[in-house]
């Protein structure tokens, strides 16, 4: 599962999704009838990445960093302010309505909250078969029931439970139903938006293992959005670290976890506790001071500089590009250097 490359996967692997300069500003308005624009929340501010076929790209960051907005934009649940996302030779932000429907078949989503993501009034069978209802002609009515049962069995549920309602299942089982629904149309890409963070510890691993197994069976590419860095390390081939709407650092999981170069990545990793009392007190903590600035009014230059211990004048004046800085993977810091913060 691990991707053995230096920064980039081997060149022959094909890019399935190419995101460039993605921007989303939510306008801030005042007034009810006569709306007046008073500014914008810059939720996503120039995000670019490639997703390779069959890989898992982890998107990590703290709340408000824009990672979930990226997911909504790629599914066109929100309209992007600017930027492009090329899938199958076409920019998904410019697709006309009809082609958009076809796209929906190929990019799917699994949500965080298994209690909120299934319609409580529908049976499991209806939920999993809904994609075929919407895309008529994809699956004959006669076959549907048995195909639903196949899918349920594939995600580890009892196929005889098709007529049950979501509330009759536990959280982990509901998440499996959500995954079955996402699989129904044979998508290429599944965006997992915090798919295990609402689950109990002992159930999380079941779902993580299921996602891993499905990936190889169905040749899926995942964009795995999460705040839990341990889960992301476990499941991702590559990881992108986001802060205030921008990618700070991107690399394969060894590069990010063992050789982080961006101060934010280092601070983030150093804050994650290790479930081993033996290393207590031995680890270096980079404690960040202050709060995340408001995305409506981000700092000039490097957005992280207000909380960075390395910040100098240059950081306020010049926006650091996400580029190679003499290490094996790109970093958006003027003063990037490797510092190991996760114990070996």
């Amino acid at each position: 599962m691990a991707d053995e490359g230096n920064g980039r996967p081997a060149p022959e692997r094909d890019v399935i999704l190419k995101v460039e300069n993605l921007v989303k500003h939510f306008p801030l308005t005042q007034g009810i009838v006569f709306k007046k624009h008073v500014g914008a929340v810059k939720a996503v501010e120039g995000v670019s990445f490639d997703l390779y076929r069959g890989e898992t790209l982890g998107l990590v960051g703290e709340s408000g960093c824009g990672k979930s907005t990226v997911a909504k934009l790629l599914l066109r649940l929100e309209e992007a302010t600017s930027g492009s996302a090329i899938y199958d030779g076409k920019d998904i932000f410019k697709l006309p309505r009809k082609e958009l429907r076809a796209l929906r078949r190929n990019i799917q989503i699994v949500f965080q909250d298994p209690y909120a993501s299934l319609n409580p009034r529908m049976t499991v069978g209806d939920i999993v078969a809904e994609p075929w209802e919407i895309h008529q002609g994809r699956m004959g009515k006669a076959e549907r029931r048995s195909r639903v049962q196949d899918l349920l069995a594939r995600v580890g549920l009892d196929p005889d439970h098709v007529n049950r309602y979501p509330h009759q299942f536990s959280g982990g089982q509901r998440q499996r139903i959500g995954i079955a629904r996402a699989l129904a149309l044979n998508p290429d890409i599944i965006i997992c938006d915090e798919p295990v963070s609402a689950l109990d510890v002992s159930v999380q691993a079941q779902v993580v293992n299921l996602l891993n197994a499905l990936q190889s069976d169905f040749n899926l590419s995942y964009i795995f959005i999460a705040h839990d860095l341990a889960v992301v390390r476990h499941i991702s081939d590559r990881v992108a670290v986001m802060y205030l709407g921008k990618i700070m650092e991107v690399g394969n999981q060894d590069q990010i976890y063992d050789r982080p170069t961006h101060p934010y990545t280092q601070a983030l990793l150093s804050a994650v506790p290790v479930p081993d009392p033996a290393v207590r007190g031995e680890r270096k903590r980079m404690v960040l001071t202050g709060d995340v600035p408001s995305p409506a009014n981000p700092p000039s230059g490097c957005v992280f500089r207000t909380r960075c211990w390395k910040a100098q004048e240059k950081c306020a004046e010049e926006v650091p590009a996400l580029e190679n800085r003499g290490f094996d993977h790109p970093s958006a810091c003027h003063f990037a250097e490797i510092e190991r913060v996760v114990p070996v």
Partner: protein, 347 residues
Amino acid sequence: MDVTTDDPKAAEGQHLLQVEDLHVEFRTQYGTVNAVNGISYSLDERETLAILGESGSGKSVSAQAIMGIIDSPPGFITKGALRFRGTDLLGLDESERRSYRGQKIAMIFQDALTALNPVYSVGFQIGEMFRVHRGASRSEAKKKAIELMDRVRIPAAKERVGEYPHQFSGGMRQRVMIAMALSLDPDILIADEPTTALDVTVQAQIMELLSELQGETGMGLILITHDLAVVADVADRVAVMYAGKIVETGSVFEVYENAAHPYTEGLMSSIPRIDQKGRELNPIRGAPPSLMRIPPGCPFHPRCPYARDVCRVDLPPLYEVSASRRSACHFFEEVLANVEGGLTGGR
């Protein structure tokens, strides 16, 4: 089961807090929810005890029972004793009980935003404790509030004392909660998932603050959480709860080095770790039982790889594993022999 009789400190009432055979149930229209089914533990000064469990394990309910904040009905404490320095809190009437709440035992919650009243300034809410319990004047209370906000490291406390909860970030709100909890110098602080809703960098700050404050005041800390990594980081002792019972208890070093209960072992092999890549996750099969229909015998047996016939019938007592360690498993020796179940040095 009985950890109290062989405990000399307990007999003299020297433990700060002694929970004995506590039972809590909720009587709902769907049936009786057996949330806590006979748990016993003790807490000393300067000690951090972690209660580790998943949702529905009864860990939060046991804390609410200690605070005396269980809604009754539907909740009832059906059996047990809660001794605070030897005094059984369950034998007190409501007004005596109230004098313990906040002054001797305080609690902070997961969601600091809903626990704070949005229409009063944070300074007013912190100071209220002094006005109510100590009869302080308004200006005295405000001065105390600023002092406390400084103590929990809220920057610019003087300027921020008049601000409202929504003007604070999640981490700062949790600090406000801690300030309120500490205002009357309690002997015990119960922290119920204090960092679950917070980002990881903020979580680290709050845990650090709590242990610093514990060092200053010498209070006993009960940390209720589902996060094994947080427990490893701060706890002295850990009690693992499952289906309303403690299944394993011991020092955090012992338990993490080699679990003595299959559930603990299962938890440890199912979590991904930041310091390990690609390790196979071995999840515990199935899901935790409903507290309305706890399986007979050992409640963990339907999910347990060690289960035998006896487990389906006989409820295991808390066997003594070592002087400081107990496990509620008939086959704890077998579990101990499986050394792969530990987290320490497992990298």
